[in-house]
Every structure is written in C-alpha cells, then in structure tokens.
C-alpha cells in the first residue's frame, strides 16, 4: 500500500512543527525520514498513524486517511513508537498480543488463530524463550523487539517505525532492520521510518526525505540526498562520505580540523 503525503501541516500548542510537507512512497517501498532532532520526523509519523491532528492530505493506498475508521486504520498502519510506554508487569506474549486488538471486536477475546500469529512472530523475533517473562525483567533491546512484535502481529501492510534501533547494540540493530527488510519483501510491506544513523538509512531505505524545521529539504535516493554540504548545513556535523562498491555508502563522522 502506498503512502502519499501532500501539504501536511501540524501545529502542536502554538508551534507549527510541520509545515506544508510533501513526500510519498510506493507500496513495498522503504521511506526513511532523516533530519536533526526536532525537525518534525516523529510528528509526520504520528500524523500517518492518525494520532495527531493535521492539515493537508495523507493518502493510504489511494484513500484519504482522515475519514478512515480508527480500527480499520489500525489494520492498515502499525506503529512502533520511539519511546513506547511499557506496562512493566505484563509478560512479553501478552504484550505482543495487544497488537491483535484492531482485529477483535470490542468485547471479544483472542482466538487460536490470533495466538498462532503471536507465537509465529515471537519465534521470528527470537522472543519465544522470553514469552512468559515480564517486560520489566528483560533488557531494553528485548523490549524493543517486543514492541516491534506487537506492531507485526497487527499484520498491517504499512509499518511506521520511529527510531526503531535506538538503544540497540550493533547486532540487534542489524537484526531488527534485516528482519524488517525480509518481511517487507515477503509481505510487500511498506515501511516508513525515522532514522538517525545516516549510513543505516542509506543501506536500507529506497528513498530518503530530509526534513528540517518541519519542511522538506529534499527527497530522493540516498546518494542524491546525502551530500557533505547538506549534512553540514542541516545536522551541523562534519562528515566524510565513503562510497565505493566494496563497502557501500558510508557516512562517517569526522572531528573538525583533522
């Protein structure tokens, strides 16, 4: 399912944090939102999920998302927040099961079908062993995978992730992103993701949209978007870009004056 954003503006309190933003991604694509802290990346994601009021249009698979019923939208769009509120006493399996909520009527209970989906996702994320452990007892990385698991059992064709690798060590970062990519190919998932690590963004995303002060600076493939000047201007960082066929596209931080 494609996601098309046109003229998106979001005002939080008195501040317009996103103004007139346009970007889009086709079905099965991976769109990365990059930009400095406070650029408005998370707000754009929250607008797509439908948990923040906005002006402009967001089209999901060609339908304006505004009038879509909340529950139906939850079956179309799954969300991995940046700082999820974890019920620390709930066990991993029950937490992941919450992702089945949009498929259940208000007062219904999960069926065996729902449980099967949950157990498959747990296994896929190597969480089966932790299924009965409470969220308060597992590591941050494991909890992050549980949150991803909750989003995956929603079985929505669009996956929205806000900094999904924050707090993960290198191995688990790779695991989460590779898994997302595998699922993307298997199920033709569309992924929209805010990312800090520009190298990782360049490796995984089909398209990057650079946002600063709530506006799009530029959109396109990583090699076009990520230039030394733009990174210096919008991130205030000096970097070296290594781009060769052996190691791929790497944005490496560089200390000034060396």
């Amino acid at each position: 399912m494609s996601v098309v954003i046109r003229g998106l503006s979001v005002t939080l309190g008195d501040a317009e944090v996103v103004s007139g933003l346009d970007t889009d991604i086709g079905g099965g694509g991976w769109l990365g939102l990059i930009g400095p802290n406070g650029a408005g990346k998370s707000t754009v994601l929250r607008a797509i999920v439908g948990i923040v009021d906005y002006l402009g249009t967001i089209e999901i698979a060609g339908r304006a998302s505004g009038p879509i019923d909340r529950k139906e939208r939850a079956r179309m769009v799954a969300y991995v927040p940046q700082r999820p509120q974890l019920p620390l006493l709930m066990n991993v399996r029950d937490y992941v099961m919450l992702g089945r909520t949009p498929h259940l009527s208000l007062f219904a209970s999960e069926t065996r079908h729902d449980l099967k989906i949950v157990d498959e996702v747990l296994e896929r994320l190597e969480l089966s062993r932790l299924a009965r452990r409470e969220l308060g007892e597992i590591s941050g990385g494991e909890a992050q995978r549980a949150v991803l698991g909750r989003a995956l059992v929603q079985q929505a064709p669009i996956l929205i992730m806000d900094e999904p690798t924050t707090g993960l060590d290198l191995g688990h970062q790779e695991q989460v992103l590779e898994l997302t990519d595998e699922l993307r190919h298997e199920r033709n998932l569309t992924v929209v993701c805010a990312m800090h690590d520009l190298t990782v963004a360049a490796q995984f995303c089909d398209k990057l949209t650079l946002i600063d002060h709530g506006r799009v600076v530029t959109s396109g493939p990583a090699r076009e978007v990520l230039s030394l000047e733009r990174i210096a201007k919008h991130f205030g960082a000096s970097v070296t870009i290594i781009d060769n066929p052996d190691v791929g596209f790497i944005v490496a931080p560089q200390r000034r004056g060396r």
Binding site: R75, P81, Q85, S128
Partner: protein, 354 residues
C-alpha cells in the same frame, strides 16, 4: 543450533481460568455461610444452611429451623450479607477500573472523592425530597450518582493541573481535598436536622446495620449493570496500559473508553455508597492483593475483584458486628484499619517503580 522452546498454543495466559473463578466462588459461598451462621442468636449450623438452601429454587430443601429463627437468618442476617457483598464487589471493581484507566495504582472510589460526592448527593436528595414515595424509582441513587460524578470531575481536573494522571500522589491529594470538602457540606446539610445527627455520623463512618431487602432491591440494578459493563471492558483495560496514544494506534478510542468506564464505575459506586455510607480502601486492598497472586492483567483482576471484593466486605462486616458485640464497630473503621497500612505499602512501591 538454537533450540527454541515452543510456547504452547493455548489460551492467552492472562485469561481468567475456570479454577480461579471456582475458587473465588467457593470463598464467597463460605463467607456467606459463615456470616449467616454467626450472630447474637445462637442457631445450629445445619439449620442455617438448610434455611439458605431452601431459598434456592429446584433444590427442594426445607428449613429445619423454627420460623422465628429462619426469619433471623433470612430477614436480618441475609439482607446485610447480600448488601455487603454487592457493595464490596462494586467498590473493588470500581477501584480496579479507576486504577486501570488512570494508570494510577492509588486510585480508589473513596480516595478519589467519588464516595463523598455520592454521599452528599444522597443526603441532599433525602433532605430536599422529604417524601419520594410517589416516585417510580428512588431518586437517592440518582442524586448520589450526580454527586459522585461531580466529585470525580473536580478530582480529575484538580489532579490533572498538577501533572498527568500517572503522577500518582497528585490525583489522590486532589481526591482527598475534594472528599473533605464534600463531606463537610454533607455534614453541614445533615447537622441542621439534629434528630438525624447520629445517622449522619453512622453514614460517614460506613455500615450495613440498617440493611434490608428493600435496600438490596434498590441498588441491585445499578451495581449489576456497572459490574457487567466493567467486566466486559477487562481486555480493553489491558490495552489502555500502553497509554492513550499507543492505544489509539491500536484502534481503541482511549478517551471514550475512559469516559465510559469511569461513568459506570461512578454510577455503581454511587449506588453502593448511598446505602452503605463511606467505606474506604476496598478498591485498593482487593485489586492489589489479587495482583500479587494472579498477575497484573485486568482480564483476571476485574472478575476476581468482583468475587473477592464481595467476600472481603462480608468478612469485614462480620468482624464489625462481632468483635465488640453487642456493640457494632463502623464498617468503614474496619476497612480503614486494614486498608491504611496497605495503602502505604502500595504508595511506597509506586514511588519506587518508574
């Protein structure tokens, strides 16, 4: 090779199991039998049991007690037990619900001021509408409901101004202030009628000594309705534990769920309190004890709170009318005696965890 232990594809681990419900039902049945057996009139246990069973249709059991003694069991002890059970069930379920939707472990109908507001409403209704014999339904629970909702509203507005709901102590402090205020007005309203002064104090301290089948009849619809609705919301309360925004992203309307559940919890509490007076801490003691035993899921906490809340208050009332017999200790005093230390433990725990 990594060996992955296959989790059983069985029911959700949080579902309330049949044996847990059965055990709770047995505890309730034992509480009822004990409370029906104990009292100033010394009646044989077998007689009490047959009297109770004779009221169950289709069993064909006949009471072995003389009719005087049978009416002690059925007209004096049983209304009190049933009312106590209803009130206890309601307060425990309401407490668990408030804790769930405000994600605040200290929320309780008494501490949030709902009980005091309901009391004021009930008092004013009795004062202003001297005879409501010609009303089709008693206006007392309705007035109690309005008072309860009003007090709850004040508490949430005040508690929110000091931070979010989750900022545990703020909400409770607001509730205590609101409760004190409403109780003050309520006391004033009743003080003007000097002949009912003693009743006023009895009501504030909480008790079931005037229980009758008529009272049971008045509160049953309200308590049954709100308990049924709240228990139906048990799974949704678990979803609410991820916070409003994430619950919304899962297709739940968190604000609406909160409004509906608080409304029903307040309605039931108001009806209960209009008959029983101010009984505190049941909504803290019962759900938190259950959390220690049965885990944190509301899918277990709500149905079990209903049953153990009933059993708890029946036992507490039994203590209230026996330990200083023939005098009675106010029921609210008994629950506070157990509840206050419990409250401190929960407070300590909630301050420690993030």
């Amino acid at each position: 090779m990594l060996l992955v232990r296959q989790t059983r594809g069985d029911l959700a681990s949080t579902r309330c199991r049949a044996w847990q419900l059965l055990l709770a039902l047995i505890v309730v049945a034992l509480a009822v039998c004990t409370a029906a057996f104990v009292g100033p009139a010394d009646l044989p246990f077998r007689g009490v049991l047959t009297t109770l069973l004779s009221k169950v249709p289709l069993l064909g059991v006949h009471s072995t007690l003389p009719s005087n003694d049978a009416s002690i069991v059925w007209q004096i002890r049983m209304p009190r037990i049933v009312l106590g059970g209803l009130v206890g069930a309601m307060l425990a379920v309401a407490g668990a619900t408030y804790q769930g939707v405000f994600q605040n472990p200290l929320a309780d109908p008494y501490l949030l001021g709902v009980a005091a507001g309901a009391g004021l409403g009930a008092t004013l209704a009795v004062e202003l509408v001297k005879s409501f014999a010609n009303w089709p339904v008693s206006p007392v629970p309705l007035a109690a409901f309005c008072g309860g909702v009003l007090a709850a509203g004040f508490t949430f507005v005040l508690g929110r101004s000091g931070g979010r709901y989750r900022a545990g102590a703020t909400l409770v402090l607001a509730g205590v202030a609101v409760a004190a205020f409403f109780t003050a007005i309520q006391t004033y309203a009743q003080q003007r009628q000097t002949q009912t002064l003693q009743q006023t104090y009895a009501w504030i301290l909480g008790g079931l000594s005037t229980a009758s089948w008529q009272q049971v009849q008045i509160v049953v619809p309200y308590i049954a309705l709100s308990c049924i609705v709240l228990v139906m919301y048990r799974r949704i309360l678990d979803v609410m534990s991820v916070g409003d925004e994430e619950a919304d992203s899962l297709g739940i309307r968190a604000h609406r769920v909160r409004a509906v559940t608080v409304l029903f919890a307040t309605l039931g509490t108001a009806a209960a309190v209009s008959m029983s007076g101010l009984i505190g801490f049941v909504g803290i003691i019962v759900p938190h004890t259950l959390r220690l035993i049965a885990g944190s899921s509301y899918r277990r906490i709500l149905p079990l709170s209903l049953l153990y809340g009933a059993a708890f208050l029946v036992h507490a009332d039994l203590l209230a009318r026996t330990i200083a017999s023939p005098a009675e200790i106010p029921l609210g005093v008994i629950t506070a005696f157990f509840g206050a230390p419990f409250f401190l433990i929960v407070l300590r725990q909630s301050q420690r965890s993030p």
